[in-house]
Assembly symmetry: C2
Homo-oligomer: 332 residues x 2
Protein backbone atom coordinates (compact mmCIF):
# COMPACT_ATOMS: atom_id res chain seq x y z
CA UNK A 1 0.00 0.00 0.00
CA UNK A 2 1.50 3.34 -1.05
CA UNK A 3 1.76 5.94 1.67
CA UNK A 4 1.13 9.58 0.91
CA UNK A 5 3.34 12.47 1.87
CA UNK A 6 1.99 15.97 2.34
CA UNK A 7 4.27 18.82 1.40
CA UNK A 8 4.17 22.60 1.21
CA UNK A 9 5.87 24.18 -1.80
CA UNK A 10 6.83 27.76 -2.54
CA UNK A 11 4.24 28.61 -5.20
CA UNK A 12 5.28 32.20 -5.94
CA UNK A 13 7.64 34.90 -4.67
CA UNK A 14 6.17 37.68 -2.50
CA UNK A 15 5.64 41.14 -3.94
CA UNK A 16 6.09 43.13 -0.74
CA UNK A 17 4.61 41.27 2.22
CA UNK A 18 4.43 37.49 2.02
CA UNK A 19 0.99 35.87 2.04
CA UNK A 20 -0.60 32.43 2.26
CA UNK A 21 -1.02 32.39 -1.53
CA UNK A 22 2.77 32.19 -1.87
CA UNK A 23 2.49 28.60 -0.65
CA UNK A 24 0.82 25.46 -2.03
CA UNK A 25 -0.01 22.19 -0.26
CA UNK A 26 0.43 19.05 -2.33
CA UNK A 27 0.07 15.33 -1.75
CA UNK A 28 2.76 13.09 -3.15
CA UNK A 29 3.04 9.31 -3.07
CA UNK A 30 6.08 8.02 -1.20
CA UNK A 31 8.42 5.93 -3.35
CA UNK A 32 9.88 2.75 -1.88
CA UNK A 33 13.25 3.23 -0.15
CA UNK A 34 16.40 2.56 -2.15
CA UNK A 35 19.39 0.82 -0.59
CA UNK A 36 21.16 3.20 1.83
CA UNK A 37 18.12 5.39 2.35
CA UNK A 38 16.25 6.19 5.53
CA UNK A 39 12.70 7.45 5.97
CA UNK A 40 11.68 9.78 8.78
CA UNK A 41 8.23 10.70 10.03
CA UNK A 42 8.68 14.34 10.99
CA UNK A 43 7.18 15.30 14.34
CA UNK A 44 7.98 19.00 14.40
CA UNK A 45 8.84 21.57 11.77
CA UNK A 46 10.78 24.67 12.80
CA UNK A 47 9.63 28.04 11.47
CA UNK A 48 12.36 30.65 11.39
CA UNK A 49 12.67 34.23 10.15
CA UNK A 50 15.51 33.37 7.77
CA UNK A 51 12.99 31.52 5.58
CA UNK A 52 11.45 34.84 4.58
CA UNK A 53 14.75 35.90 3.02
CA UNK A 54 14.93 32.67 1.05
CA UNK A 55 11.53 33.37 -0.51
CA UNK A 56 13.02 36.34 -2.38
CA UNK A 57 15.09 35.93 -5.50
CA UNK A 58 17.73 38.32 -4.18
CA UNK A 59 21.43 38.34 -3.49
CA UNK A 60 21.87 36.93 -0.02
CA UNK A 61 24.09 34.54 1.85
CA UNK A 62 22.05 31.63 0.61
CA UNK A 63 20.63 30.57 -2.70
CA UNK A 64 16.92 31.39 -2.93
CA UNK A 65 14.31 28.77 -2.17
CA UNK A 66 13.41 27.31 -5.61
CA UNK A 67 9.84 27.72 -6.78
CA UNK A 68 7.61 24.64 -6.75
CA UNK A 69 9.88 22.80 -4.36
CA UNK A 70 9.37 21.89 -0.71
CA UNK A 71 10.05 24.89 1.57
CA UNK A 72 13.28 24.39 3.47
CA UNK A 73 13.31 24.05 7.22
CA UNK A 74 14.65 22.17 10.18
CA UNK A 75 12.71 19.13 11.39
CA UNK A 76 12.82 16.56 14.16
CA UNK A 77 11.20 13.19 13.89
CA UNK A 78 11.49 9.44 14.15
CA UNK A 79 12.99 6.94 11.76
CA UNK A 80 10.17 4.71 10.47
CA UNK A 81 12.11 2.66 7.94
CA UNK A 82 15.79 2.28 7.21
CA UNK A 83 17.94 0.66 4.56
CA UNK A 84 20.93 2.49 6.02
CA UNK A 85 23.07 0.74 8.65
CA UNK A 86 23.60 3.97 10.60
CA UNK A 87 19.90 4.35 11.42
CA UNK A 88 17.21 2.07 12.72
CA UNK A 89 13.47 2.42 13.14
CA UNK A 90 12.67 4.29 16.32
CA UNK A 91 15.75 6.53 16.23
CA UNK A 92 14.95 10.16 16.97
CA UNK A 93 16.65 12.42 14.47
CA UNK A 94 17.12 16.06 13.55
CA UNK A 95 17.41 17.04 9.92
CA UNK A 96 16.48 19.59 7.30
CA UNK A 97 13.53 17.91 5.61
CA UNK A 98 11.52 21.11 5.26
CA UNK A 99 7.79 21.63 5.25
CA UNK A 100 6.62 18.05 4.80
CA UNK A 101 5.40 15.12 6.87
CA UNK A 102 7.92 12.55 5.70
CA UNK A 103 11.56 12.93 4.83
CA UNK A 104 13.68 10.57 2.78
CA UNK A 105 17.44 10.80 2.88
CA UNK A 106 20.69 8.93 2.33
CA UNK A 107 21.52 9.85 5.92
CA UNK A 108 23.69 12.87 5.21
CA UNK A 109 22.74 15.84 7.37
CA UNK A 110 20.68 13.61 9.61
CA UNK A 111 21.74 13.30 13.26
CA UNK A 112 20.43 11.02 15.98
CA UNK A 113 19.50 12.90 19.15
CA UNK A 114 19.09 11.70 22.72
CA UNK A 115 15.67 12.50 24.16
CA UNK A 116 16.30 10.99 27.59
CA UNK A 117 16.66 14.36 29.30
CA UNK A 118 15.92 16.82 26.48
CA UNK A 119 12.52 16.89 24.72
CA UNK A 120 12.64 16.24 20.99
CA UNK A 121 11.29 19.68 20.08
CA UNK A 122 14.07 21.41 22.05
CA UNK A 123 16.50 20.30 19.35
CA UNK A 124 14.79 22.84 17.10
CA UNK A 125 15.06 25.52 19.79
CA UNK A 126 17.49 26.06 22.65
CA UNK A 127 19.50 22.92 21.82
CA UNK A 128 19.39 23.56 18.09
CA UNK A 129 20.04 26.27 15.58
CA UNK A 130 18.41 29.11 17.58
CA UNK A 131 20.33 28.18 20.72
CA UNK A 132 23.66 27.95 18.93
CA UNK A 133 22.91 31.26 17.19
CA UNK A 134 22.48 32.89 20.60
CA UNK A 135 25.57 31.17 21.97
CA UNK A 136 27.77 32.19 19.06
CA UNK A 137 26.69 35.82 18.83
CA UNK A 138 26.96 36.34 22.56
CA UNK A 139 30.18 34.47 23.25
CA UNK A 140 32.10 35.00 20.04
CA UNK A 141 31.06 38.52 19.00
CA UNK A 142 29.75 40.37 22.04
CA UNK A 143 32.10 38.49 24.39
CA UNK A 144 30.58 40.14 27.46
CA UNK A 145 32.42 40.84 30.67
CA UNK A 146 30.72 40.58 34.04
CA UNK A 147 29.06 43.84 34.95
CA UNK A 148 28.41 44.92 31.37
CA UNK A 149 24.95 45.56 29.95
CA UNK A 150 23.72 43.33 27.13
CA UNK A 151 20.57 44.20 25.17
CA UNK A 152 18.76 41.76 22.89
CA UNK A 153 15.81 42.44 20.61
CA UNK A 154 13.04 39.90 20.00
CA UNK A 155 13.89 38.95 23.56
CA UNK A 156 11.06 36.47 24.10
CA UNK A 157 11.89 34.59 20.90
CA UNK A 158 13.84 31.41 20.36
CA UNK A 159 17.17 33.16 19.98
CA UNK A 160 16.69 36.23 22.15
CA UNK A 161 15.51 34.28 25.18
CA UNK A 162 18.73 32.24 25.17
CA UNK A 163 20.93 35.33 24.63
CA UNK A 164 19.59 37.02 27.73
CA UNK A 165 19.77 33.95 29.94
CA UNK A 166 23.37 33.27 28.90
CA UNK A 167 24.23 36.94 29.47
CA UNK A 168 22.82 36.71 33.00
CA UNK A 169 24.92 33.60 33.62
CA UNK A 170 27.95 35.62 32.47
CA UNK A 171 27.27 38.20 35.16
CA UNK A 172 25.80 40.86 32.91
CA UNK A 173 22.79 43.08 33.17
CA UNK A 174 20.42 41.57 30.58
CA UNK A 175 17.85 43.87 29.00
CA UNK A 176 15.30 42.67 26.48
CA UNK A 177 13.25 44.46 23.86
CA UNK A 178 9.97 42.77 22.98
CA UNK A 179 6.53 43.60 21.64
CA UNK A 180 3.77 43.91 24.19
CA UNK A 181 3.38 43.88 27.92
CA UNK A 182 2.77 40.13 28.14
CA UNK A 183 6.02 39.24 26.42
CA UNK A 184 7.93 41.78 28.46
CA UNK A 185 6.58 40.36 31.70
CA UNK A 186 7.58 36.86 30.60
CA UNK A 187 11.10 38.05 29.72
CA UNK A 188 11.62 39.47 33.19
CA UNK A 189 9.59 37.14 35.40
CA UNK A 190 10.18 33.80 33.70
CA UNK A 191 13.41 34.23 31.76
CA UNK A 192 15.02 36.30 34.51
CA UNK A 193 16.18 39.32 32.51
CA UNK A 194 16.82 42.44 34.59
CA UNK A 195 14.46 44.53 32.47
CA UNK A 196 12.47 44.44 29.25
CA UNK A 197 11.33 47.34 27.09
CA UNK A 198 8.05 47.15 25.14
CA UNK A 199 8.76 48.62 21.71
CA UNK A 200 5.05 48.85 21.00
CA UNK A 201 4.43 51.14 23.98
CA UNK A 202 6.01 54.21 22.33
CA UNK A 203 8.80 56.40 23.64
CA UNK A 204 11.32 53.63 23.00
CA UNK A 205 14.42 55.73 23.56
CA UNK A 206 13.34 56.97 26.99
CA UNK A 207 12.27 53.50 28.06
CA UNK A 208 15.53 51.94 26.90
CA UNK A 209 17.51 54.70 28.58
CA UNK A 210 15.76 53.98 31.86
CA UNK A 211 16.48 50.26 31.48
CA UNK A 212 20.15 50.81 30.65
CA UNK A 213 21.38 53.40 33.14
CA UNK A 214 25.01 52.52 32.38
CA UNK A 215 24.56 52.43 28.60
CA UNK A 216 24.84 49.35 26.42
CA UNK A 217 28.03 47.35 25.92
CA UNK A 218 26.71 44.49 23.84
CA UNK A 219 23.73 44.35 21.53
CA UNK A 220 22.31 41.23 19.91
CA UNK A 221 20.22 42.36 16.96
CA UNK A 222 17.35 40.31 15.56
CA UNK A 223 15.11 43.09 14.35
CA UNK A 224 16.68 46.16 12.71
CA UNK A 225 14.82 49.36 11.90
CA UNK A 226 13.81 51.70 14.69
CA UNK A 227 14.92 49.30 17.40
CA UNK A 228 18.45 49.23 15.99
CA UNK A 229 18.60 53.02 15.59
CA UNK A 230 17.45 53.49 19.15
CA UNK A 231 19.80 51.00 20.73
CA UNK A 232 22.71 52.37 18.73
CA UNK A 233 22.13 55.71 20.43
CA UNK A 234 22.63 54.02 23.84
CA UNK A 235 25.85 52.17 22.97
CA UNK A 236 28.91 52.79 25.09
CA UNK A 237 32.36 53.29 23.63
CA UNK A 238 33.87 50.04 22.39
CA UNK A 239 30.47 48.32 22.29
CA UNK A 240 29.91 45.19 20.23
CA UNK A 241 26.88 44.46 18.04
CA UNK A 242 26.12 40.94 16.85
CA UNK A 243 23.93 41.22 13.75
CA UNK A 244 21.77 38.14 13.55
CA UNK A 245 18.58 39.29 11.85
CA UNK A 246 16.68 42.16 10.31
CA UNK A 247 13.19 40.73 10.63
CA UNK A 248 11.58 44.18 10.47
CA UNK A 249 12.89 44.68 6.94
CA UNK A 250 12.17 41.22 5.52
CA UNK A 251 8.84 42.31 4.13
CA UNK A 252 8.81 45.44 2.00
CA UNK A 253 11.22 48.34 1.93
CA UNK A 254 14.78 48.16 3.29
CA UNK A 255 15.13 50.20 6.44
CA UNK A 256 18.08 52.58 6.62
CA UNK A 257 20.35 53.02 9.60
CA UNK A 258 19.82 56.63 10.64
CA UNK A 259 23.08 57.52 12.36
CA UNK A 260 25.94 55.38 11.07
CA UNK A 261 28.45 57.98 12.31
CA UNK A 262 27.78 56.62 15.82
CA UNK A 263 29.69 53.51 14.79
CA UNK A 264 32.74 55.72 14.51
CA UNK A 265 32.23 58.13 17.38
CA UNK A 266 31.61 55.23 19.78
CA UNK A 267 34.24 52.98 18.13
CA UNK A 268 31.75 50.15 17.79
CA UNK A 269 32.28 46.70 16.40
CA UNK A 270 29.51 45.30 14.21
CA UNK A 271 29.66 41.74 12.97
CA UNK A 272 27.05 40.06 10.82
CA UNK A 273 27.00 36.28 11.12
CA UNK A 274 25.26 33.11 10.01
CA UNK A 275 25.58 30.34 12.52
CA UNK A 276 25.68 27.56 9.94
CA UNK A 277 29.08 28.90 8.83
CA UNK A 278 30.58 28.09 12.20
CA UNK A 279 29.84 24.38 12.43
CA UNK A 280 33.14 23.75 14.23
CA UNK A 281 31.64 25.40 17.33
CA UNK A 282 28.32 23.55 17.34
CA UNK A 283 29.45 20.55 19.41
CA UNK A 284 30.74 22.77 22.21
CA UNK A 285 27.68 25.01 22.10
CA UNK A 286 25.19 22.15 21.95
CA UNK A 287 26.87 20.39 24.84
CA UNK A 288 26.59 23.47 27.05
CA UNK A 289 23.03 24.24 25.95
CA UNK A 290 21.86 20.63 26.26
CA UNK A 291 23.22 20.42 29.78
CA UNK A 292 21.47 23.64 30.78
CA UNK A 293 18.15 22.49 29.33
CA UNK A 294 18.40 19.04 30.91
CA UNK A 295 19.12 20.68 34.27
CA UNK A 296 16.24 23.11 33.72
CA UNK A 297 18.61 26.05 34.05
CA UNK A 298 17.64 27.35 30.63
CA UNK A 299 13.98 28.23 30.20
CA UNK A 300 12.26 28.23 26.83
CA UNK A 301 8.79 28.53 25.44
CA UNK A 302 7.16 27.20 22.29
CA UNK A 303 4.22 28.24 20.16
CA UNK A 304 2.98 25.13 18.38
CA UNK A 305 0.71 25.22 15.34
CA UNK A 306 -1.10 21.98 14.70
CA UNK A 307 -0.82 20.30 11.31
CA UNK A 308 1.23 20.99 8.21
CA UNK A 309 -1.65 22.84 6.56
CA UNK A 310 -1.35 25.55 9.21
CA UNK A 311 2.36 26.17 8.64
CA UNK A 312 1.96 29.13 6.23
CA UNK A 313 -0.33 31.07 8.56
CA UNK A 314 1.91 30.32 11.53
CA UNK A 315 4.94 31.46 9.56
CA UNK A 316 3.31 34.74 8.52
CA UNK A 317 2.17 35.34 12.08
CA UNK A 318 5.70 34.80 13.36
CA UNK A 319 7.01 37.46 10.98
CA UNK A 320 4.59 39.86 12.65
CA UNK A 321 5.64 38.79 16.13
CA UNK A 322 2.44 36.86 16.91
CA UNK A 323 4.35 33.83 18.18
CA UNK A 324 5.51 33.67 21.77
CA UNK A 325 8.80 31.80 21.96
CA UNK A 326 9.96 29.28 19.41
CA UNK A 327 7.45 28.77 16.58
CA UNK A 328 6.93 25.11 15.71
CA UNK A 329 4.45 23.12 13.66
CA UNK A 330 3.38 19.76 15.04
CA UNK A 331 3.15 17.28 12.19
CA UNK A 332 1.85 14.16 13.91
Amino acid sequence: MTQTNRQILLASRPQGAAGVDNFRLVETPLAPLAQGQVRVRNHYLSLDPYMRGRMNDAKSYATPQPLNEVMIGGTVGEVVESLNPKFKAGDKVIGMFGWQEFGTSDGSGLNIVDTTHVPLSAYLGPVGMPGVTAWYGLNRIIAPKAGETVVVSAASGAVGSVVGQLAKRAGCRAVGIAGGEQKCRYVVETLGFDACVDYKAGNLYEALKAATPNGVDGYFENVGGEVLDTTLARMNAFGRIALCGFISGYDGQPQPLKYPALLLTQRLLVQGFIVSEHMELWPQALKELGTLVAQKQLVYRETVADGLENAPAAFLGMLKGQNFGKQLVKLI
Copy 2:
Protein backbone atom coordinates in the same frame (compact mmCIF):
# COMPACT_ATOMS: atom_id res chain seq x y z
CA MET B 1 61.48 92.74 24.78
CA THR B 2 58.21 90.83 24.86
CA GLN B 3 57.53 88.58 21.91
CA THR B 4 54.04 88.27 20.52
CA ASN B 5 52.24 85.02 19.76
CA ARG B 6 49.49 84.84 17.18
CA GLN B 7 46.69 82.37 17.85
CA ILE B 8 43.42 81.30 16.27
CA LEU B 9 40.54 80.67 18.66
CA LEU B 10 37.18 79.01 18.17
CA ALA B 11 34.90 82.04 18.31
CA SER B 12 31.54 80.31 17.85
CA ARG B 13 30.07 76.92 17.02
CA PRO B 14 28.84 76.28 13.46
CA GLN B 15 25.14 76.21 12.72
CA GLY B 16 25.25 73.79 9.79
CA ALA B 17 28.32 74.36 7.66
CA ALA B 18 31.39 75.85 9.35
CA GLY B 19 32.61 79.27 8.17
CA VAL B 20 35.53 81.62 8.66
CA ASP B 21 33.49 83.63 11.17
CA ASN B 22 33.64 80.67 13.55
CA PHE B 23 37.32 81.55 14.09
CA ARG B 24 39.12 84.58 15.53
CA LEU B 25 42.79 85.57 15.23
CA VAL B 26 44.29 87.14 18.34
CA GLU B 27 47.73 88.41 19.34
CA THR B 28 48.97 87.51 22.79
CA PRO B 29 52.22 88.47 24.53
CA LEU B 30 54.45 85.54 25.40
CA ALA B 31 55.13 85.19 29.12
CA PRO B 32 58.69 84.39 30.23
CA LEU B 33 59.35 80.64 30.61
CA ALA B 34 58.99 79.08 34.03
CA GLN B 35 61.42 76.44 35.28
CA GLY B 36 60.83 73.12 33.47
CA GLN B 37 59.15 74.75 30.51
CA VAL B 38 60.12 74.69 26.88
CA ARG B 39 59.14 77.07 24.07
CA VAL B 40 58.65 75.92 20.50
CA ARG B 41 58.41 77.97 17.33
CA ASN B 42 55.89 75.98 15.30
CA HIS B 43 56.84 75.47 11.66
CA TYR B 44 53.80 73.55 10.44
CA LEU B 45 50.25 73.14 11.67
CA SER B 46 48.30 70.03 10.64
CA LEU B 47 44.70 70.49 9.50
CA ASP B 48 42.59 67.37 9.89
CA PRO B 49 38.92 66.46 9.39
CA TYR B 50 38.48 65.40 13.03
CA MET B 51 38.72 69.08 14.03
CA ARG B 52 35.33 69.70 12.48
CA GLY B 53 33.75 67.28 14.92
CA ARG B 54 35.38 69.03 17.85
CA MET B 55 33.79 72.33 16.82
CA ASN B 56 30.35 70.93 17.68
CA ASP B 57 29.07 70.67 21.20
CA ALA B 58 27.92 67.10 20.65
CA LYS B 59 28.46 63.69 22.16
CA SER B 60 31.54 62.27 20.53
CA TYR B 61 34.67 60.37 21.42
CA ALA B 62 36.33 63.60 22.45
CA THR B 63 35.37 66.58 24.52
CA PRO B 64 34.39 69.51 22.32
CA GLN B 65 36.87 72.23 21.51
CA PRO B 66 36.19 74.95 24.14
CA LEU B 67 35.05 78.32 22.86
CA ASN B 68 37.56 81.19 22.98
CA GLU B 69 40.51 78.86 23.30
CA VAL B 70 43.22 78.00 20.78
CA MET B 71 41.99 75.46 18.23
CA ILE B 72 43.57 72.10 18.82
CA GLY B 73 45.89 70.54 16.29
CA GLY B 74 49.16 68.74 15.71
CA THR B 75 52.27 70.84 15.11
CA VAL B 76 55.94 70.38 14.30
CA GLY B 77 58.54 72.99 15.08
CA GLU B 78 61.85 73.87 16.67
CA VAL B 79 62.71 74.48 20.30
CA VAL B 80 63.75 78.12 20.66
CA GLU B 81 64.18 78.26 24.44
CA SER B 82 64.26 75.60 27.11
CA LEU B 83 64.29 75.48 30.89
CA ASN B 84 63.68 71.74 30.67
CA PRO B 85 66.69 69.38 30.71
CA LYS B 86 65.07 67.03 28.18
CA PHE B 87 65.03 69.66 25.40
CA LYS B 88 67.53 72.11 24.02
CA ALA B 89 67.27 74.94 21.52
CA GLY B 90 67.41 73.59 17.98
CA ASP B 91 65.62 70.32 18.76
CA LYS B 92 62.94 69.50 16.20
CA VAL B 93 59.74 68.41 17.95
CA ILE B 94 56.23 67.20 17.29
CA GLY B 95 53.44 68.22 19.63
CA MET B 96 49.84 69.31 19.89
CA PHE B 97 50.18 73.06 20.23
CA GLY B 98 47.22 73.85 18.00
CA TRP B 99 46.61 76.82 15.77
CA GLN B 100 49.33 79.18 17.02
CA GLU B 101 52.83 80.28 16.16
CA PHE B 102 54.49 79.51 19.48
CA GLY B 103 53.85 76.70 21.90
CA THR B 104 54.82 76.57 25.56
CA SER B 105 54.86 73.29 27.43
CA ASP B 106 56.29 71.42 30.39
CA GLY B 107 57.51 68.86 27.88
CA SER B 108 54.67 66.38 28.25
CA GLY B 109 53.30 65.24 24.91
CA LEU B 110 56.30 66.73 23.13
CA ASN B 111 58.59 64.37 21.21
CA ILE B 112 61.93 65.04 19.53
CA VAL B 113 62.04 63.81 15.93
CA ASP B 114 64.96 63.01 13.64
CA THR B 115 64.89 64.98 10.41
CA THR B 116 68.06 63.46 8.93
CA HIS B 117 66.17 61.32 6.43
CA VAL B 118 62.55 62.34 7.00
CA PRO B 119 61.37 65.93 6.39
CA LEU B 120 59.92 67.69 9.41
CA SER B 121 56.46 68.09 7.86
CA ALA B 122 56.21 64.34 7.19
CA TYR B 123 55.79 63.83 10.93
CA LEU B 124 52.35 65.40 10.50
CA GLY B 125 51.58 63.14 7.55
CA PRO B 126 52.78 59.67 6.58
CA VAL B 127 55.08 59.38 9.62
CA GLY B 128 52.51 60.89 11.98
CA MET B 129 48.89 60.54 12.95
CA PRO B 130 47.52 60.11 9.41
CA GLY B 131 50.08 57.44 8.58
CA VAL B 132 49.46 55.50 11.76
CA THR B 133 45.73 55.79 11.18
CA ALA B 134 46.17 54.16 7.78
CA TRP B 135 48.50 51.52 9.20
CA TYR B 136 46.16 50.61 12.05
CA GLY B 137 42.95 50.44 10.04
CA LEU B 138 44.54 48.41 7.29
CA ASN B 139 46.64 46.01 9.36
CA ARG B 140 44.54 45.62 12.48
CA ILE B 141 40.98 45.81 11.13
CA ILE B 142 41.02 44.97 7.43
CA ALA B 143 43.98 42.58 7.83
CA PRO B 144 44.19 42.00 4.07
CA LYS B 145 45.43 38.83 2.47
CA ALA B 146 47.40 38.88 -0.77
CA GLY B 147 45.07 38.81 -3.74
CA GLU B 148 42.20 40.55 -1.99
CA THR B 149 40.73 43.86 -3.12
CA VAL B 150 41.01 46.86 -0.79
CA VAL B 151 39.08 50.07 -1.46
CA VAL B 152 39.80 53.37 0.25
CA SER B 153 37.85 56.60 0.01
CA ALA B 154 39.52 60.03 0.05
CA ALA B 155 42.31 58.08 -1.63
CA SER B 156 44.53 61.03 -2.47
CA GLY B 157 44.41 62.35 1.09
CA ALA B 158 46.90 61.99 3.90
CA VAL B 159 45.36 58.78 5.24
CA GLY B 160 43.95 57.24 2.07
CA SER B 161 47.18 57.56 0.11
CA VAL B 162 49.02 55.52 2.74
CA VAL B 163 46.24 52.90 2.98
CA GLY B 164 46.44 52.12 -0.72
CA GLN B 165 50.22 52.01 -0.88
CA LEU B 166 50.39 49.67 2.13
CA ALA B 167 47.66 47.49 0.59
CA LYS B 168 49.70 47.22 -2.61
CA ARG B 169 52.75 46.21 -0.57
CA ALA B 170 50.58 43.50 1.03
CA GLY B 171 49.85 42.05 -2.41
CA CYS B 172 46.32 43.40 -2.74
CA ARG B 173 44.45 45.09 -5.53
CA ALA B 174 44.20 48.70 -4.29
CA VAL B 175 41.31 50.80 -5.55
CA GLY B 176 40.84 54.42 -4.59
CA ILE B 177 37.82 56.68 -4.60
CA ALA B 178 38.61 60.38 -5.01
CA GLY B 179 37.03 63.58 -6.27
CA GLY B 180 38.02 64.68 -9.76
CA GLU B 181 40.08 63.41 -12.64
CA GLN B 182 43.30 65.05 -11.49
CA LYS B 183 43.25 63.36 -8.09
CA CYS B 184 42.34 60.01 -9.62
CA ARG B 185 45.20 60.22 -12.07
CA TYR B 186 47.58 61.00 -9.21
CA VAL B 187 46.27 58.06 -7.19
CA VAL B 188 46.99 55.63 -10.02
CA GLU B 189 50.06 57.13 -11.69
CA THR B 190 51.96 58.48 -8.70
CA LEU B 191 50.70 56.46 -5.74
CA GLY B 192 50.53 53.24 -7.75
CA PHE B 193 46.96 52.15 -7.00
CA ASP B 194 45.48 49.69 -9.49
CA ALA B 195 42.48 51.91 -10.16
CA CYS B 196 40.73 55.00 -8.90
CA VAL B 197 37.07 55.96 -9.21
CA ASP B 198 36.01 59.61 -9.51
CA TYR B 199 32.94 60.04 -7.31
CA LYS B 200 32.21 63.39 -8.91
CA ALA B 201 31.87 61.85 -12.38
CA GLY B 202 28.47 60.26 -11.68
CA ASN B 203 27.48 56.60 -12.04
CA LEU B 204 29.55 55.68 -9.02
CA TYR B 205 28.25 52.14 -8.66
CA GLU B 206 29.02 51.15 -12.25
CA ALA B 207 32.46 52.73 -12.09
CA LEU B 208 33.28 51.00 -8.82
CA LYS B 209 31.98 47.70 -10.13
CA ALA B 210 34.29 47.98 -13.15
CA ALA B 211 37.23 48.78 -10.86
CA THR B 212 36.49 45.86 -8.50
CA PRO B 213 35.72 42.90 -10.76
CA ASN B 214 36.21 40.48 -7.87
CA GLY B 215 34.21 42.53 -5.36
CA VAL B 216 35.61 44.26 -2.29
CA ASP B 217 37.18 42.45 0.67
CA GLY B 218 38.40 45.41 2.70
CA TYR B 219 37.12 48.96 2.80
CA PHE B 220 38.80 51.86 4.56
CA GLU B 221 36.14 54.54 5.05
CA ASN B 222 36.96 58.22 5.40
CA VAL B 223 33.89 59.73 3.83
CA GLY B 224 30.49 58.14 4.55
CA GLY B 225 27.29 58.98 2.71
CA GLU B 226 26.78 57.84 -0.85
CA VAL B 227 30.33 56.53 -1.16
CA LEU B 228 29.77 54.20 1.80
CA ASP B 229 26.38 53.01 0.52
CA THR B 230 27.87 52.25 -2.87
CA THR B 231 30.93 50.42 -1.64
CA LEU B 232 28.82 48.40 0.77
CA ALA B 233 26.91 47.05 -2.21
CA ARG B 234 30.20 45.71 -3.64
CA MET B 235 31.42 43.99 -0.48
CA ASN B 236 32.20 40.29 -0.62
CA ALA B 237 31.15 37.88 2.08
CA PHE B 238 33.28 38.20 5.21
CA GLY B 239 34.51 41.66 4.19
CA ARG B 240 35.99 44.06 6.73
CA ILE B 241 35.28 47.78 6.98
CA ALA B 242 37.55 50.09 8.95
CA LEU B 243 35.54 53.19 9.86
CA CYS B 244 37.90 56.09 10.19
CA GLY B 245 35.88 59.13 9.17
CA PHE B 246 32.54 60.47 8.00
CA ILE B 247 33.74 63.72 6.50
CA SER B 248 30.69 64.00 4.24
CA GLY B 249 28.42 64.27 7.26
CA TYR B 250 30.50 66.62 9.40
CA ASP B 251 28.66 69.67 8.11
CA GLY B 252 24.91 69.61 8.26
CA GLN B 253 22.56 66.65 8.38
CA PRO B 254 23.61 63.15 9.41
CA GLN B 255 23.64 60.80 6.44
CA PRO B 256 21.87 57.47 6.88
CA LEU B 257 23.22 54.13 5.78
CA LYS B 258 20.73 52.95 3.18
CA TYR B 259 21.07 49.16 3.33
CA PRO B 260 22.30 48.03 6.74
CA ALA B 261 20.90 44.53 6.07
CA LEU B 262 23.92 44.01 3.78
CA LEU B 263 26.05 43.87 6.91
CA LEU B 264 24.18 40.71 7.80
CA THR B 265 23.69 39.11 4.40
CA GLN B 266 27.40 39.55 3.60
CA ARG B 267 28.51 38.79 7.19
CA LEU B 268 30.59 41.95 7.31
CA LEU B 269 32.77 43.23 10.10
CA VAL B 270 32.62 46.96 10.79
CA GLN B 271 34.94 48.55 13.32
CA GLY B 272 35.08 52.23 14.16
CA PHE B 273 38.39 53.37 15.57
CA ILE B 274 40.38 56.34 16.81
CA VAL B 275 44.07 55.88 16.38
CA SER B 276 45.01 57.83 19.50
CA GLU B 277 43.46 55.02 21.55
CA HIS B 278 46.02 52.54 20.29
CA MET B 279 49.24 54.28 21.34
CA GLU B 280 50.89 50.94 22.10
CA LEU B 281 51.13 50.30 18.36
CA TRP B 282 52.52 53.69 17.35
CA PRO B 283 56.21 52.84 17.80
CA GLN B 284 55.93 49.81 15.49
CA ALA B 285 53.85 51.69 12.94
CA LEU B 286 56.06 54.79 12.95
CA LYS B 287 59.19 52.72 12.54
CA GLU B 288 57.76 50.97 9.48
CA LEU B 289 56.36 54.18 8.00
CA GLY B 290 59.51 56.21 8.70
CA THR B 291 61.67 53.60 7.00
CA LEU B 292 59.41 53.58 3.92
CA VAL B 293 59.44 57.39 3.66
CA ALA B 294 63.20 57.60 4.19
CA GLN B 295 63.68 55.00 1.43
CA LYS B 296 61.21 56.89 -0.78
CA GLN B 297 59.04 53.78 -1.02
CA LEU B 298 56.05 55.66 0.36
CA VAL B 299 54.90 58.64 -1.70
CA TYR B 300 52.99 61.52 -0.21
CA ARG B 301 51.84 64.95 -1.21
CA GLU B 302 51.15 68.12 0.75
CA THR B 303 49.00 71.18 0.23
CA VAL B 304 50.57 74.00 2.19
CA ALA B 305 48.75 77.19 3.12
CA ASP B 306 51.03 80.07 4.00
CA GLY B 307 50.60 81.84 7.32
CA LEU B 308 48.45 81.26 10.36
CA GLU B 309 45.85 83.78 9.18
CA ASN B 310 45.03 81.48 6.26
CA ALA B 311 44.38 78.42 8.41
CA PRO B 312 40.57 78.82 8.63
CA ALA B 313 40.09 79.10 4.87
CA ALA B 314 42.45 76.18 4.27
CA PHE B 315 40.56 74.11 6.83
CA LEU B 316 37.17 74.84 5.28
CA GLY B 317 38.54 74.06 1.83
CA MET B 318 39.86 70.73 3.07
CA LEU B 319 36.39 69.80 4.33
CA LYS B 320 35.20 70.32 0.76
CA GLY B 321 38.03 68.26 -0.69
CA GLN B 322 39.92 71.25 -2.15
CA ASN B 323 43.25 70.10 -0.73
CA PHE B 324 45.38 67.62 -2.60
CA GLY B 325 47.21 65.40 -0.14
CA LYS B 326 47.99 66.35 3.43
CA GLN B 327 46.75 69.85 4.33
CA LEU B 328 49.34 71.87 6.26
CA VAL B 329 49.76 75.48 7.26
CA LYS B 330 53.29 76.89 7.15
CA LEU B 331 53.80 79.13 10.15
CA ILE B 332 57.28 80.52 9.59
